[in-house]
Structure formats: C-alpha cells, structure tokens
Amino acid sequence: MEAGLELFGRGTPGPSDLLVCVVEPSLWSIQTATRIIELAKELGIPKVAVAANKIRDELDIEWIREALLPFEVEVAAAVPYDSGVSLADRKMKSLLDIAPESEAANAIASLVDYIEAQLHPAPTVAPAAGNGHAEPGAVETDDKGCPWVVDKY
C-alpha cells in the first residue's frame, strides 16, 4: 500500500463521522484519494469530503473535480498553493501564526464553515461565512458534540 493508506487496513477504533480527503493536483494523489474514498465507504464513514490543496489555477481544481466525479464526493474547499504554507513549514511554525491572512488560511476557513455546517445540520440562521458564530448551546450539549480532529491516515 502506498503512503497515506497504511492505517486503513489495520482497523482503527471506530469509524469517524467525517473524513476529509486532502488531494493535490497530481495523478498519484488522485489515485490515493480514490482508494481512500472507497475504503472510507467500506469502513462505514458516513461522510467524505475533499479538500483540494496546492491549487495554482482553475485548471487544477477543475481537473480534481473531474477526476473525482464518479465518486460523488463534495469538494469542500480549494486551498491555493501559498508561500505562507511553505514558510510556516520551513520555520516549523503554525500557518495561523506565520500567515494568518494568507489565501491558504482563508480557504481553510471555508473548510471550517463546511465542517460546522455538518455539526449543525440545519441551522435556522446560517452563521455568516468566515466569522463562524456557532449557536451557543449547540456545541456544549455533551462530549459527543465536540469535534475531534484526527490527523490520521
């Protein structure tokens, strides 16, 4: 198995509620993603979304959308190729501390909006994009309502 899939075969404790598959515009990345998407379905993960990453232009994102079309997954965010990400990586810092206003950080904020929409499936008033005022009370009900972010497979 190629990098990124090794844990799937081992049976981790319980399926996640949402799997975000990070895909860059390369054939290898798409091939890994298609296997991840299929395995996620086998594992019973109810929702799979794609975060396109390192996007340089419209062609990149269109290519990813087209390649993943048969898999019926939503492309929840298109994160551009961003020098802020490389800088954070080289300096061993967080993107939010190095380049909080970068295009990449803004695009990831839209992924957060998407995730929050999954947390609150049918809000009567949608939170304004970007400022993310979650309805108080909707989150703190019990521990199961907490988002667990797993950098996993």
Binding site: A3, V23, A88, S94, L95, L119, C146, P147
Partner: protein
C-alpha cells in the same frame, strides 16, 4: 464529532488539519486533536514551539491492545476511555486545542 484527515503523504493533511483544529477552537468548540501519523508533526503545525514539540509525551502502546473481532478482523481495542487518555497524555496547544500524539497506537500491532 470525529473528523479524520487522509491523503497521500505530503498532500497537506497536517497543515490543513492543524489549521482547522485551531479555527474550530477559536469558534468556541472544544477541540481534541490526535496525531496518528507515524511521523508526528501536528504539534508543530498547531504552533507548539519546535523545541518543546520534540519532547512531548507520546501515547504509550500499553493503552491499546490488538485483537480480532467476531468476524475475524483485526481491531485495536483501547484499554482506557479516550477522554482519560486526553486527560493523562494530552498537551495544550494554542487556542485551547488539546493534542494527543498517538503514533504509538498506530504501531501497537507491530511492537
């Protein structure tokens, strides 16, 4: 809600998941992050100073056991509740994210 990030090595899972975790925390959610990568870098991507990050405690493999379920599939069984694991082995990251470095769990079967 548990959100997993997957993708080819180098695709940006760590950067994106760390940023998502901190943004969710800034929005008022109680976020628990687990680094299950065999090469754990989530601590640094979350903004824990690199010097500190290399010394962080990793989950001991004794907290999980490899087993076989009724259908004969290999499974990992946690011997402690996840919340206790975060309590005992978790570290605080910026914006109130609680981080657990669990790479040894991933290797429980090989140890």
């Amino acid at each position: 809600m548990e959100i997993s990030f997957a993708g080819k090595g180098g695709s940006g899972k760590t950067t994106i998941s760390a940023t998502v975790a901190r943004m969710l925390a800034r929005h008022g959610h109680a976020v628990r992050a687990i680094d299950a990568d065999s090469n754990p870098n989530l601590a640094i991507a979350l903004g824990i100073p690199a010097q500190q990050a290399i010394e962080l405690q990793v989950l001991p493999k004794e907290i999980a056991r490899r087993d076989t379920d009724a259908e004969g599939k290999r499974v990992t069984v946690l011997l402690q509740e996840p919340h206790d694991l975060f309590e005992h082995y978790g570290v605080d990251a910026p914006d109130g994210v609680r981080l657990l470095i669990g790479s040894r769990v991933a290797h429980a079967g090989t140890g």
